[in-house]
């Protein structure tokens, strides 16, 4: 058989690369430079381009012909075998810095024209533009995650970044990847610097310079000594059981209030956004009640509820409920009309449209709402605990004030901030895990 080798120009290779998700974001000029690295090779049917276990040096672009691609049977992959056509690019393993071995076998099944690109040179070409490089690698990571989804790899293989992926691949991979990216970025160090500046100012202002308005405040060292003391002067430190009882009590109240607000607020908000009629009934009332501050509700709450405990929870619930419901409603309103039209075309009834479009479509807003609502719950809880209740961080702050235990106030405040931040972060993590589609979409956009 006579293979007439068509000479492939870098322009054509560049066009093909541009079509791949990995290189879509790369500039045309850079792609052309990359394409110029290519070496064109003709192959007879049956020739093996590489086999599992071979060293991964090159990336392959199919220009003509067909290639059969078989993943090593020992590796679980979502696409164990497929045929690659002109315009397909494969052999991405070569982009990994330390040249791991191939996990699949590629065999030509027709007279095939291939352009080979050295992975190492490609990376060097990309290195001129670190942002583009990061984008290409990010998309490459997505490809791996979708191709090798099943638990298979040994932890060692996974951590060395081979083409295999650790158990529970997407999520863990993404988290580890994000963490490593975060540590490489300047962000954590700026954050530490920010804290250092803040604490430094506190220390200097109160204890060294003794500035007029700061002189009466408890100093940084005093607070830390008290906080870490086995025998605290004012009775509260990380070694006392009381401290954890206060935290536990506040967290428990928040949990109840937040749960209640979510269970009632999300459906209420979705309904407000979904049903015009319901909106006309309920929204005006909702809008009148919403701006009333929690403190104004305190007397009513005490009258309404026999136990102070329920009154406190009710107060924390109120503000969260409004935040949750409002965001759920906005979430419904943010949904593109075409999605609804599309599912009606596909034969959906009203309930199915609600389930398949309204609920998932509003979810990003719902979770933003929940993050806000957890924060709001915290500050209304503190207000409520100051008014009534026993135990809890708000109670600590308030009683310490009346009993002139200033360092304890600061301990209560810092603890409150930290615990509040943690709960809000927890809601965010839960949201991300429920909305993989959104996480991946944002990852593709480079956020």
């Amino acid at each position: 058989m006579e293979a007439i080798a068509r000479l492939v120009t870098p322009e054509i290779v560049g066009d093909i690369l541009k079509q791949t998700q990995q290189f879509e974001a790369v500039s045309d000029v850079l792609l052309l430079q990359i394409a110029a690295l290519g070496r064109q090779v003709s192959h007879e049917p049956g020739s093996v381009l590489y086999d599992a276990g071979d060293r991964a040096d090159d990336i392959f672009v199919v220009v003509a012909g067909k290639v059969e691609y078989l993943v090593d049977p020992g590796v679980q992959a979502s696409r164990p075998a497929r045929i690659l056509h002109p315009g397909d690019v494969f052999g991405w393993t070569a982009l990994l810095a330390h040249k791991p071995s191939r996990l699949s076998k590629a065999v030509c099944i027709e007279p095939t024209e291939i352009v080979r690109l050295s992975g190492e040179k490609l990376l060097r070409a990309l290195a001129v533009d670190s942002e583009t490089r990061a984008e290409v690698m990010r998309r490459f990571a997505c490809l791996i995650a979708s191709d090798y989804p099943a638990p298979h790899a040994t932890p060692a293989a996974a951590s060395s970044g081979r083409e295999t992926v650790a158990p529970d691949s997407h999520r863990i991979n993404l988290t580890v990847y994000r963490l490593s990216q975060w540590l490489k970025s300047p962000r954590p160090y700026l954050m530490l610097l920010g804290f250092a500046l803040f604490l430094g100012f506190w220390y200097l202002a109160v204890e060294v310079w003794k500035l007029p308005r700061f002189a009466e405040m408890p100093g940084l060292t005093v607070v830390i000594k008290e906080w870490l003391s086995k025998d605290p002067t004012y009775g509260l430190s990380i070694y006392t059981g009381e401290y954890y009882k206060h935290i536990g009590m506040s967290v428990w109240r928040i949990a109840q209030a937040f749960l209640l607000a979510t269970i009632l607020g999300v459906p209420f908000g979705l309904l407000l956004g979904w049903s015009r009629k319901f909106n006309h009934y309920a929204f005006p009332v909702f809008e009148v009640l919403r701006p009333i501050p929690v403190l104004a509700w305190v007397p009513l709450a005490i009258v309404m509820f026999v136990s102070t405990e329920s009154a406190v929870i009710y107060l924390a619930f109120l503000a969260s409920f409004f935040a949750t419901a409002l965001n759920a409603m906005l979430g419904v309103e943010s949904i593109d009309e075409s999605y609804l039209r599309a599912v009606y075309c596909l034969g959906a009834n009203r309930w199915q449209a609600f389930r398949h479009v309204i609920v998932p479509g509003a979810l990003p807003f719902v979770f933003t709402g929940l993050q806000i609502s957890v924060g709001v719950a915290w500050f209304s809880l503190v207000a409520a605990e100051m008014v009534s209740g026993q135990y809890g961080l708000g109670y600590v702050i308030n009683t310490s004030y009346s009993m002139v235990r200033y360092p304890t106030i600061i301990i209560g405040m810092i603890t409150l901030g930290a615990v509040g931040y943690l709960t809000s972060a927890l809601v965010r993590v839960i949201g991300d895990s429920l909305m993989q589609w959104r996480v991946r979409e944002l990852a593709m956009k480079g956020d």
Binding site: D15, Q19, E24, P149, H356
Partner: protein, 272 residues
Amino acid sequence: MRGAIRIDDVVKIYDPRGAAVMAVDHCSLDIEGGEICMVVGPSGCGKTTLLNAIAGFHDITSGCITLDGEVLCSTRHPKATPGSDRIVVFQNGALLPWKTNLQNVALGPVMQGKLSKARAIEKAADMMADAGLAGVEHNFPGEISSGMRRRVEIVRALMNDPKVLLLDEPYRALDSLTKSVMHEALLNVYYKNKVTLFFITHDLEEAIFLGHKVAIMTTRPCRPKKILAVDIPHPRDYGVLTSKRFRELMQETTEAVHEEALKAFQAGEREG
């Protein structure tokens, strides 16, 4: 052959009580079953209004639209019920971003209760593989290119065995290279499935390349100005674009389209 659409003297006036704007003016158009009918007109000329009336998203003011002899909407019953016999492929794409491509494709038959979830997923995977979309099943739509998304959307429609596909400028946002790939992919799908295509575009070249029939619409109010039967035999491929007949047909129609575009432009200037 099923999927014949008859648009008979349809009028659509927006806001009949206030400042009435006539979007569609006594428009009649006959589309045979299995035909590719391309509707060409400048942006905002009212062709989408016509599509929305067929799909059942909007009502009509008067006239009648039938599908295989059955009335979809008429003066007496102005709004059609959306259904899986007429599926729209949207301008900006409407794959549900929170479902994977495979789940999107399988959605129709599951919601209609025609197939069990497992069967629908199986069939969806087969259809995607047939359409050359193997490998992106478990990706979310946001992870694949926009050209690929359009193809998934068309497969999602075909899963329901529709009589008519209503395409609302589906390739508008694509670059011309991707577009040419999409055209051939669409024709391949069409040759395999034989549905009626009601395809809205403002790209005359696209219209003549794909269509059996090209309806050039007047600008607001919208009605056919010229109906061109494209006598280039199917199956077609990209060679057609350079053929003599194609050039002749382009010449024959360019003027009519340009005239309407100019009118639309001037009208826009007046309003602005």
